[in-house]
């Protein structure tokens, strides 16, 4: 092993960018579809390209983007969570009861984040260490967490500081800025050995273990991060509505799965990319907005949404079989 000098990388970091470029291959088609919907939406709603129109649209997308990421991380490890919605609700009621209360903004936000991280980590430990099926553990967890949210705030109430609501859900694209930061942090995590191990731990756990990857740690960390993203989304939802609602997150559980699946994340672990999941959540948001502007009734919206999701899963399958 001496010929290290043979053709050194063209420039520092080129391998990293080459790998990043290759990861786009599977989601190019999806990006095009998202772009198409974006154009259609811009055509229907001219305000999209004004400052406040963009701010409003990204605010409607933001919580879905976070929960899609939360679900995608778990699906990459070969798991899944049915507790996403309950965690969003819990984050919302914790924020609405503590931030205007004794803890203040910093303390309340810290509590929301710690709750997400802690509950996620405990879920992860139960799933990984006890080798229980994630779908059952998180289903049971969703009942417990939803119950906890109802204990904190039995009916909609609480309050958020108006300035925080204005900042996050007002006329500035602050939410979009936060999303950019979240994505950058994810890229940073994925550049750590533990983060990158997520793919190996999800797709080939035995091989990863033999290679010296801390498989259990990588999976538990994924559950913790997922929990953090969910309660974070809850805090945002509370800021959006100015109060806490113990069942506001319910729809996010299934929508997070829909977004991840639209984004090409596989159920078997290790398949898919976060950029795909984000694009999937954006597509879901756009679809809802476009259908709203086209005057679809809510029932028709649901049917169309379902058909599009089945199509999104089926098309790659057909293409694979055709090969």
């Amino acid at each position: 092993m001496s010929n290290t000098t043979l053709s050194p990388p063209a420039r520092s970091g080129s391998l990293y960018w080459a790998i990043q470029a290759k990861r786009n291959i599977g989601v190019r088609g999806l990006f095009l579809v998202v772009l198409g919907f974006m154009v259609a939406y811009g055509f229907l709603f001219h305000g999209l390209f004004t400052g406040s129109g963009f701010a409003k649209f990204t605010q409607s997308w933001f919580p879905l983007a976070l929960v899609a990421m939360a679900q995608a991380i778990l699906m990459l490890t070969g798991g899944i969570s049915l507790a996403i919605g309950a965690l969003v609700s819990l984050g919302a009621v914790l924020a609405a009861t503590t931030i205007t209360g004794p803890l203040g903004v910093a303390g309340g936000t810290a509590l929301v984040c710690l709750a997400g991280l802690g509950i996620g980590a405990v879920t992860g430990i139960i799933v990984v260490r006890l080798r229980l099926p994630a779908i059952v553990v998180t289903l049971a967890g969703s009942f417990i967490i939803a119950g906890a949210a109802l204990l904190v705030l039995p009916r909609p109430g609480g309050a958020m500081p108006p300035w925080l609501s204005d900042l996050l859900a007002g006329n500035t694209p602050a939410a979009f800025g936060v999303l950019v930061v979240v994505v950058l942090l994810w890229k940073l995590y994925l550049a750590t050995p533990l983060g990158l191990s997520l793919y190996a731990a999800g797709e080939n756990p035995v091989g990863a273990y033999r290679s010296g990857v801390p498989v259990d740690a990588a999976r538990i960390a994924a559950y913790a991060i997922s929990g953090l993203l969910c309660t974070g989304a809850g805090l945002f939802v509370a800021a959006q509505t100015g109060s806490g609602d113990p069942i506001i997150g319910n729809s996010f559980t299934l929508n997070s799965i829909a977004a991840a699946v639209l984004g090409g994340i596989g159920f078997l672990g290790g398949q898919g990319t976060m950029r795909g999941a984000l694009a999937g959540s954006l597509l879901l948001s756009l679809m809802i907005s476009v259908m709203f502007f086209l005057g679809f009734t809510p029932v028709a919206q649901y049917v169309a949404q379902g058909l599009i999701i089945i199509g999104a899963v089926a098309i790659p399958q057909f293409r694979m079989r055709a090969r």
Binding site: M1, L15, A191, G207, V213
Partner: protein, 502 residues
């Protein structure tokens, strides 16, 4: 030869699984600068020995030594730290990660807590150059062929700069060019003082590459010697041979003139262009190393996987069955190797398992007659000596009795062709004896039996003819007179005597 200390050694190790001894008092010493071959038939204990050396398993008795010193705890992590790298048969790669990320997996160079991609690129490139991998390092492994993935796996082992390199059948999926590169590489590594353990079923490779050989047979070491002065036939002889005792029934020819199955140019799964004739009243064995496509041959005949043929005739009717019900209709029955997953419904009662194929024949909406089912099941249990209450779940039975249920359930359909996939795997000796007698009994009753087996003595003592499969083709068809364990193993491993049969 014992001048330098072995880098890695096992001293008198034994290992048993569930009271079943797999390795008995085996010793092996891996010397620096030597390529050491490990040979043995399927199930001889090679994989277990590798797992002991790599720390994946712990010996029941005996010791693992590194640099001459016995190590008390030998975990996979300890083994890695000691510089032991294993290239397993099942790959440890992740399809969605790039070549470089796979090579460095578990041992990434870091900078500020992040993966140091420039350093990874340089080190991965060096490892890839050694094995002749010239694809861009950013290529996802999922896009590579099986052979190239194997090369990535080897590069991954080299990336860790091992002192001991264990290769478990590294060439099974490699092209001849890749095999040549690997051979040259191993020569070079040997020159650098690395100890190499090389497991292969290709004797020509072993003869060419290795200096020392350890042969395992039924978990015991039958040879530990320099390869100089040994020929391939000698090695084969060391791997086979067991006293059959009175395990097998007396063999009498019951072959009839009527052809039961005749296929030309059958391709299914791994099998390519296979010609096979099976006559009524004979037992045709399918031999060869595990995973050469034998199972696909049975499944193809059975209509369970898509198959193509130039021509096929089963009992005078042309064409292969297109699906399993049609195969059953035409008199074929298949007993799978994995009885727990494919052969039986473990949590359901024995009687249900026995009746299942018969249910398929009944009118879908006619009410069942419990009394009649019970009567049929009792008859089968009596005929096959299946012990125990038929109302209990099938999982309550021993492995041998489970296998008898998996076989007996077809009898109400009175099949004329039995396709049996390793029917005695994991079965106790007494049941083996019973099953062997049944197989010859079926043949005597005019049925055609196709017996796929990983147990060579079984093929020698039960079969009228044995087709040996290698790389998806029947390489040799041995007639009764030519049957011997040596002949089958030699054909399976591609050593001499090839295609001497008509």
């Amino acid at each position: 030869m014992a001048s330098p200390a072995p880098i890695l050694a096992a001293r008198g190790v034994s290992k048993a699984f569930f009271g079943n001894p797999v390795l008995r008092d085996v010793s092996i010493a891996l010397m620096p600068g030597r390529v050491h071959a490990l040979l043995g038939e399927n199930g001889a204990g090679k994989s277990t020995l590798i797992n002991l050396l790599s720390g994946a398993l712990r010996p029941d008795s005996g010791a693992i030594e590194i640099d001459g010193k016995a190590v008390s705890r030998h975990s996979p992590a300890d083994a890695r730290r000691a510089g032991i790298a294993v290239v397993q048969q099942e790959l440890s790669l992740t399809a969605s990660l790039s070549i470089a990320e796979n090579i460095g997996l578990g041992a990434y160079p870091r900078r500020f807590g992040l993966v140091d991609y420039p350093a990874l690129a340089a080190r991965a490139k060096a490892a890839c150059d050694l094995v002749g991998l010239n694809e861009p390092l950013s290529t996802p492994v999922g896009e590579l062929s099986l052979g190239r993935r194997q090369m990535v796996e080897i590069a991954k082992a080299l990336y860790r700069k091992p002192r001991v390199l264990i290769l478990d059948e590294p060439t099974s999926s490699l092209s001849s060019t890749e095999t040549r590169i690997l051979t040259a590489l191993l020569e070079k590594l040997r020159g650098e003082g690395i100890a190499i353990l090389y497991i292969s079923h290709r004797l020509d490779e072993v003869m060419q590459l290795c200096q020392h050989v350890t042969v395992l047979k039924d978990g015991a070491c039958t040879a530990d010697r320099a390869l100089e002065g040994v020929n391939a036939a000698g090695l084969v002889r060391l791997m086979v041979g067991r006293d059959p005792g009175d395990l097998f029934p007396r063999w009498d020819s019951t072959r009839m003139d009527r052809t039961a199955v005749a296929v030309r140019k059958l391709s299914a799964g791994l099998m390519r262009d296979v010609d096979l004739d099976v006559r009524a009243g004979e037992v045709v064995g399918i031999g060869g190393l595990v995973g050469q496509g034998q199972e696909d041959l049975l499944l193809g005949l059975y209509g369970a996987i898509p198959a193509k043929v130039a021509s096929a005739t089963i009992h005078g009717v042309s064409g292969l069955p297109g699906n399993v019900p049609e195969a059953n209709e035409r008199g074929l029955a298949y007993v799978p190797a994995d009885r727990k997953r494919e052969g039986l419904h473990l949590i359901h009662p024995i009687v249900t398992n026995l009746m299942l194929p018969s249910f398929a024949r009944m009118p879908a909406l006619k009410l069942r007659s419990r009394a009649k089912e019970r009567e049929t099941a009792m008859g089968l249990a009596l005929q096959f000596a299946i012990k125990g209450d038929l109302g209990r779940a099938a999982q309550a039975l021993s492995g041998g009795n489970q296998q008898k249920v998996a076989l007996a359930k077809w009898m109400p359909l009175n099949p004329s062709v039995l396709l049996l996939n390793d029917p005695t795997r994991g079965v106790d000796v007494e049941t083996k004896r019973e099953i062997y007698a049944m197989l010859r009994g079926f043949a005597a009753a005019g049925k055609a039996v196709v017996l796929l087996s990983s147990d060579t003595p079984e093929l020698v003592h039960l079969c009228d003819r044995v087709a040996v499969v290698r790389d998806g083709r029947i390489v040799t068809l041995l007639e009764r007179g030519e049957l011997s364990e040596e002949a089958i193993v030699a054909a399976a491993m591609g050593a001499e005597r090839e295609r001497q049969a008509a």
